[in-house]
């Protein structure tokens, strides 16, 4: 059920006691919502951004329309796009790429779903069943190859990297991505003719090349059968139809609901939110609250709520993979703008990862003009030359296993004016350890080697300023939350987003690991506070593309 706040009020009256309130419908929150709704709990899922009624009509492949940070569909701001985006205090050269709206940053993510490095945190082995559960649910599938992936992997083997065939990383190796993207079927990947790319003639990834612009393909596919498995098309539909595809209870989704305050009194937890369209305030109670507003907004909400912060660790220890970009220009066709944005990678235990990245010209140009070093930006005629054929480029993202530093943090701004939701978040990136810099250097060098092996005639390494695309560990496990991701300071308050990750996971992209942890968190909530039994390892997961879910989505009008 998707309700406006006023509708919720009229149905429930004020201060209904829900079983669970989940704050945030991004990468992690919907996982908890779906799992607990499937167990029959009364789950209220709040999302600060908008709900999407008809992505085929509302979204666009055009980069500016989709990704403009001020006006784009996938900006971090209210659903009413005549209003300004929500502000952050960012006191350094950096770029934060987050999306508000149902699905959160999984709307623009690339779907890359590797597991963490096995030695990144204690207890990796115990997490594997939860990884498997999520991998089946989304589902995660081995990426299909286009030209750019072939080039990347041939070059990777050319510099001596073996091919990794198991999901658990055991050595330096290359492989196709494990992506939360459905493999192409039917006409998908075999034509560019729109009329032939309509479901069910086309299923899965159509190789459109627009992962960052949100995936609404194949055209006319039921919502849960869209190619890229954002939570908008996987976990959220399952949560909202849990009474149809299983014997659960449908979760209630309230979009345009910006959480202002979480409070704790006795065994009751409360959330107060503001309707971003009307300004109305609502408070509801729950037995358990799960914070999943993202690694910037979750610590902001905690601090604005004046919840306990006894060791001053809330917001501290931000890691961001200190991303970098290396791009080669080849004399041959690469298909850089086509297909999944990233479908091949190489992992280097102890250092991090590199992955092939191909995007449309706007984001490509943005990546080539960003740098920590003014003289290193590719500008003017050089930019024109490098971008004279986007499909002769081969891009590689460097994903560093950066180390936790307390001074890299989210706090409340005392410089910028509070907005309608209270003091705004200030994100400070104040340092990097020597080890982090060395790892980034190693990975950058490997990326250059790979591009040379691929035949690149010109190679640029950007030395990006911080691009906060993978943001983690601002409410980190062991310092702010337990291994079950329950607050160490306030029981019945959990965290289920990247902020609870203990660190940068050794380098691999974070979403799958957060979703695995979130699954375990849901299970622990059910066992600890609702007297239920665990299910992972005992039951079989239901895939979000199962026919029963499709039927539930279609009959449920989603």
């Amino acid at each position: 059920m998707v309700l406006a706040t006023e509708e919720l009020d009229s149905i429930t009256g004020r201060r209904t006691v829900h079983d669970v309130i989940v704050v945030g419908a991004g990468g992690g929150g919907p996982v908890v919502a779906k799992e607990l709704a499937a167990r029959g709990l009364d789950v209220l899922l709040l999302e600060a951004g908008p709900a999407w009624r008809d992505p085929e009509q509302e979204w666009s492949h055009n980069e500016n329309t989709a990704n403009n940070p001020a006006t784009g569909i996938f900006r971090f701001g209210p659903g009413d796009r005549t209003q300004a985006p929500w502000a952050r205090d960012l006191p350094q050269n950096c770029f934060v790429w987050q999306t508000a709206g149902v699905g959160g940053s999984t709307l623009h993510y690339f779907g890359n779903s590797p597991r963490a490095m096995p030695d990144a945190f204690p207890g990796y082995r115990e997490l594997i069943p939860y990884y498997e559960w999520v991998e089946h649910t989304l589902p995660v599938q081995t990426a299909a190859m286009g030209t750019k992936e072939e080039l990347f992997l041939h070059a990777a083997t050319g510099i001596g990297l073996p091919t990794q065939t198991a999901k658990d990383i055991s050595r330096a190796a290359c492989r196709p991505q494990e992506n939360a993207i459905l493999q192409p079927g039917g006409t998908a990947g075999r034509t560019s003719k729109t009329k032939q790319l309509v479901y069910p003639r086309a299923t899965g990834c159509t190789f459109c090349g627009h992962c960052p612009q949100g995936c609404f393909l194949p055209l006319r596919a039921p919502l849960n059968l869209k190619a890229k498995r954002s939570t908008h098309v996987s976990y959220v539909p399952m949560a909202l139809t849990a009474d149809r595809w299983t014997r659960g209870r449908a979760a209630t989704l309230v979009p345009d609901a910006f959480a202002l305050k979480v409070s704790a009194a006795g065994a009751t937890r409360s959330v107060t939110w503001r309707n971003t369209r009307s300004g109305a305030l609502t408070t509801e109670d729950a037995k358990v609250v799960v914070l999943a507003a993202g690694p910037i907004e979750t610590p902001r909400l905690w601090l604005n709520s004046a919840l306990p912060n006894p060791n001053d660790q809330v917001g501290r220890g931000l890691t961001d993979h200190y991303l970098d970009l290396v791009v080669g220009r080849l004399s041959r066709y690469t298909g850089s703008s086509k297909g999944a944005t990233s479908a091949a990678r190489a992992d280097f235990p102890g250092y991090g990862s590199i992955e092939q990245v191909g995007v449309a010209p706007g984001l490509q140009a943005q990546g080539l003009t960003d740098s920590n070093e003014p003289g290193n930006r590719v500008l003017g005629t050089r930019l024109q030359r490098l971008l004279s054929d986007v499909d002769r480029l081969l891009g590689i993202a460097v994903i560093t296993d950066d180390e936790v530093l307390p001074q890299n943090r989210v706090t409340l701004s005392d410089v910028m004016t509070p907005d309608a939701h209270g003091p705004i978040a200030r994100v400070e990136i104040r340092g990097r350890t020597a080890a982090t810099l060395n790892k980034r250097e190693y990975l950058g060098t490997r990326a250059i080697q790979l591009l040379k092996a691929a035949g690149a005639r010109e190679i640029v390494r950007m030395n990006w300023a911080p691009v906060l695309l993978h943001i983690h560990s601002t409410m980190r496990m062991g310092a702010v939350v337990s291994v079950d991701w329950e607050s160490l300071a306030v029981d019945r308050v959990f965290v289920a987003d990247n902020s609870a990750l203990p660190n940068a996971l050794g380098g691999p992209n974070p979403t799958l690991t957060t979703q695995a942890f979130a699954t375990r968190t849901a299970e622990r909530i059910f066992v600890r506070y609702f007297g239920g039994d665990p299910w992972v390892g005992r039951e079989s997961p239901m895939s979000s593309i199962d026919d029963s879910v499709t039927a539930a989505v279609v009959t449920g009008g989603l």
């Binding site: 300004a84 350094q92 190859m145 560019s192 459109c208 090349g209 449309a360 943005q366 960003d370």
Partner: protein, 156 residues
């Protein structure tokens, strides 16, 4: 002339003065940002399509009593005057513009945090906006937004 007429004329003069200031301020912002866009993309037709987008994006990004585009232009002009006394950013050559950016980007984060954020993003935002236009696509030989491609090779 009665008091009402005096008031009307004075108002008209004030309005004209203010409008003139606004026009000059707008022209200054526009010429500075035009120069920024040309510095980044080196193509006049692409620049012409980009500057209005840049102004719109900046002004929407952080609304305030002074448009962010005007603030950005003022900062660039201020840096230009450091590089070449009396000059605006638009009056600098390419190397001098690069020097103006280098000056701004060497400011310490602690002292100039928000300026570092704004200046640090100006060039890549400009490039993003420029190469999201049809002119940018043409320059990049991009086929344009499509629902799919014949690009599937198989599995590794």
């Amino acid at each position: 002339m009665n008091r009402r007429e005096l008031l009307r004329r004075a108002t008209a003069v004030i309005l004209a003065t203010r409008l003139g200031w606004l026009e000059r301020a707008f022209a200054s912002t526009r010429s500075t940002l035009d120069a920024l866009v040309e510095f980044v993309v080196a193509d006049r037709r692409l620049a012409a399509a980009t500057t209005p987008r840049l102004v719109r994006t900046l002004d929407r990004f952080l609304p305030g009593s002074q448009p962010l585009s005007a603030t950005a232009a003022s900062i660039l002009d201020g840096a230009a005057a450091q590089v070449k006394p009396g000059a605006t950013f638009a009056q600098l050559n390419h190397a001098q513009k690069a020097q103006a950016f280098a000056e701004l980007e060497s400011l310490p984060d602690e002292a100039a945090g928000s300026i570092r954020f704004l200046v640090g993003n100006l060039q890549d935002l400009t490039a993003f906006l420029a190469y999201s236009t049809t002119r940018g696509w043409r320059l990049a030989r991009y086929a344009g937004a499509q629902h799919g491609h014949k690009e599937l090779k198989g599995y590794w």
